[in-house]
Amino acid sequence: MAAAATRTILEYLIIRFKSEKERQMKGLALEGIMLVSINLSDSTYGVSQLQCITTIAAAGSFCSKIPNDQIWKEMDGMLAELSVPWTRPLMEGGCSHELLDSASLQLTFKLHERPGVLMMDCLAVKQFIHKTSMVHPKIRFHYCVNMNGIMSAETYCGDKRESTCVLNGIKLLTDRRHYIRVVDSLVSCGSNFLCDKIHPVLGRTVNLLIPHEVAETGFTGELEFIPAAALCPCLKLFPNQPAKIAAVSIFFYDPTGLPISFYGKGKSSLFFSDPSNLAEWEKYNYSATLDSDPGQEEDQVSPDVRYKLHWDRGSQEDDPDTWEQTLLLFLFLHYSDQFQDKPSYDFWARRMIASHLDQILLCSQQAVKRGAQAVIDTVLEEHCKRRKNQQRLKLSLPVILGAISNVVSSSTNSQFRRECLQSLQVADTSELMAAIQTAFENVTQKRLMPSGTCNITKVPEDANPAQLAACDLPTAGQKPSQEEVSDSISSVDSEPAFLLGKADLWEEMSETKRRKTANMENNASGAPEQEPPGGSQEGTDNLMTDFGSQLCSCLWCPKDGADASMFLGERKEGYTAVSLSEGRSNENMWQVGQGRHSPEIKLGLSKREEPNMMAPKGHVLQ
């Protein structure tokens, strides 16, 4: 219920803000700050329940011209529909944030729920915010959960990250870490450089027909959809690295950039149940099946629809070094009504679209199919071209080996033979051939090709996969420190072993990127990063956003939480108690919520620059 209410209010506010912005000037992106703060504490209703106080606040230019009274009235009606009582001022015990003092809009509601339900609600709200933030990079979304004094906070904001403009003030964040986690496979292959971005291919606009039953409700105007597709992670830097597409993740956004989910109680999509609506998969040697449970890692945005892809390799053997990619498909709806002077897309229209989306898609099935297929084909053809190139390399290898073998084995020049064997430190010709083959495969596969469009960062070798998603996402109220920024970028300059031999390639890296790196290094040179007492920065950054684990520990072991806050009291401000538990997945958390035995929970410290962000239990947050 908490999730539904929070989502409803956020959707309503964003639609109102967008509508107001459109009134001022078309195509402008929304700017401002939104806060969702959830305070969980022991309930007076019983031991099996927790009290949940949710505060939603908004500040910034987008609130200024909105008639507050009307908003309150409409939000009141919406919450009443959900039987959620709300209060306008901040309730005692909510999360603290400086925004709460200056917010133009602020409302709070209180619920009592079972811990398991609340946990899922929190995750759902977090996902919704994350997904919304992907297309509203200029809105700073603060999300924090306070559980008996232990707080987890995240800020989603695209200010510092690159985005690509899609349409009508909607931008799409292109930071790949929002979509997929790739550390494990990368580190295992010994390659720790990756492009940071996704490179979406924008499709053409497709007009959608309005189904009869939607038109009958009074819905007027025209609907269009624009597809965009990208492969994640981008492997342009490693053109010879074998890769396959393991999944297709589809994200659906309404005209104001709000996600539309096909999943939920009794929801399913007939259109998306047939994977052939999106591509002729068999043409690319793939088969697709709908993934009925698209739940992903909580640090990544969860897709609205997900397909599993199976690569039909024919008689070829499976290459263990094959990296997996995900095909991301973004479907953006656009609404216009030429008979209306003012923007007419409102909360009601969103509800209408969201509830009839499947009918809308089916009504224009062929057009949607053509539009989606065109953009997916572009991506898949590139993928196939890459595969063909790799095939060409593979076919060349035996010819090269055969030629070298012929010359070496038939040579009567003992010095030549000896030098060849010594170079590769082998005893005889057969060993030499094996060594040459291995060396060839190695250097070929790891070929690094500079790309002007890619943004390269180093993936730390000892990184926990979880930190990848967290490392670039500053927590509530925290601006990314110069040290953090420079650390991630300056690492580009420190060449790993396999790159040392590719100095010439490395030299080819774009000058712009070098200049950027140099600037950042200069800026950062005077401020060495401090190591937190409990371990590396990387290890703790990860855990700062590991809300699932924290909630786990809070829900199941409140005493641990209390211990943690006590522990924190002995430390300087600026550290957060976090769980080092590996039980990150939803499943584990669910098990904890269900009262199963919790995994071992450890406490670590995460350094944060701004002391007012986190405080020991009972400390009044500023």
């Binding site: 390399l393 070298i404 030549f416 030098e419 590769l424 031999g501």
Partner: protein, 404 residues
């Protein structure tokens, strides 16, 4: 008319030809003196035989570089000269088109899909050459292509790779034990012994002799020919044979490369020049393509410029069919063909070539062609009379110095 009975040409009337030969011999002497002077002051440019061990060593060096590169965890790369880049070519009057010493190169990467196939094929070819040199066997490019058609894909791929290797190793193709399939024909007052001992007599008869595959290996070249006539097209060559031209203007040698000459035909022309030092004339169509072929004989091609010293004969002269002959001989308009856009472009680009600067007469002829926008094949002379070419045109041209 100065001609008498067939086979008994009165050469005393061919004073222009004599003067031309004298001038050629004089220039050879001067060049020889110049070369001696350069040799004394600088490195020798003399052609010397490349030994088998040198070839094997060169190939082993390539392989060793690859292995060393792999040992350093670097993708092997082959460096080839940009053979077909005009920027790598310089024109020297005495040689023709030759490659400059500081030429640009291109890298054939083993880890790049675009070049990996070429990299593999070059290595494959190197291993084939290595084996042939070791075994002292020879193969034509055609043989090599047919040894694995699936791998090579097309004959031109093999041809290109062989030339690239020759240029990369700085070893002439024939030294790599690769022979090109010969298509050229020769006829006339000439006899020689092939490398295997076969005695060949090209004395005029109805059928011509195929240019030998191993020109380098021929010896005992004997000829009394007063001149050599290079004929562009086989049809014209056959027609001249039928007209018994070699006997009418005996002694002489006729040779054709049947269009763009193969390496052996060019080598033979060069060999005959080096051996006999007699005037060499070309009989080409009066079109850009004909001029281009003539330039290949005389100055060499861009892609083989690295071997220009062994292939070009700058002493070659343009006998016919000159564009100015069209008007001079009143060749009927209907025997002419309009220049296509492509012809015009080719003509324009040829006029800009470096060697045209020292050929003002050629340039003038090309300007005439460009202005008239017409071209003519040698067969256009048949519109005047069926044997006009052999009976009137060529004897007159030779007798009165009608070459440029």
């Amino acid at each position: 008319m100065s001609l008498s009975l067939p086979g008994v040409t009165d050469w005393s009337a061919f004073t222009f030809l004599d003067h031309h030969r004298t001038a050629l011999l004089q220039s050879i002497k001067e060049e020889s003196r110049e070369e001696t002077r350069i040799e004394e002051t600088g490195p020798s440019n003399n052609i010397r035989e490349i030994t088998c061990s040198e070839i094997l060593g060169a190939i082993e060096n390539v392989i060793q570089d690859i292995v060393t590169s792999l040992a350093r965890n670097k993708a092997p790369v082959l460096t080839l000269v940009n053979r077909s880049d005009w920027r790598n070519i310089q024109f020297k009057d005495s040689v023709g088109l030759q490659m400059i010493s500081h030429h640009t190169t291109r890298k054939i990467k083993s880890d790049c899909p675009k070049s990996a196939t070429k990299f593999a094929l070059i290595l494959k070819m190197l291993s084939v050459i290595y084996k042939m040199v070791q075994d002292n066997t020879y193969a034509t490019k055609r043989d090599i292509y047919y040894s694995d058609t699936l791998l090579f894909g097309s004959q031109s791929v093999v041809d290109n790779i062989v030339n690239d290797i020759s240029c990369m190793l700085k070893i002439p193709r024939r030294s790599l034990h690769i022979l090109s399939t010969t298509k050229g024909c020769i006829s006339g007052n000439l006899s020689y012994t092939e490398e295997d001992g076969t005695k060949v007599n090209c004395t005029c008869n109805a059928t011509a002799v195929i240019v030998p595959s191993n020109v380098q290996g021929i010896r005992n070249v004997i000829t009394d020919a007063k001149f050599i006539l290079i004929v562009e097209k086989d049809a014209t060559f056959q027609r001249l044979l039928d007209d018994d031209f070699c006997n009418k203007l005996s002694p002489c040698i006729m040779i054709t490369g049947k269009g763009v000459p193969d390496l052996n035909t060019r080598l033979l022309v060069r060999k005959l020049w080096d051996t006999c030092h007699i005037p060499i004339f070309t009989l080409m169509d009066a079109d850009p393509h004909g001029i281009e072929i003539m330039c290949i004989y005389k100055y060499g091609s861009v892609s083989m410029s690295f071997e220009a010293h062994h292939l070009t004969v700058p002493a070659i002269r343009w006998l016919g069919l000159l564009p100015s002959d069209i008007e001079r001989l009143n060749i009927p308009k209907d025997a002419l063909i309009p220049l296509t856009k492509r012809d015009q472009n080719k003509l324009a680009s040829m006029q800009k070539r470096p060697y045209m600067a020292c050929q003002p007469m050629w340039k003038k002829e090309m300007e005439i062609m460009a202005a008239s926008k017409m071209k003519a094949e040698i067969q256009a002379l048949m519109s005047l009379s069926s044997d006009y070419l052999s009976r009137v045109y060529l004897p007159n041209k030779l007798q009165f110095g009608g070459w440029i």
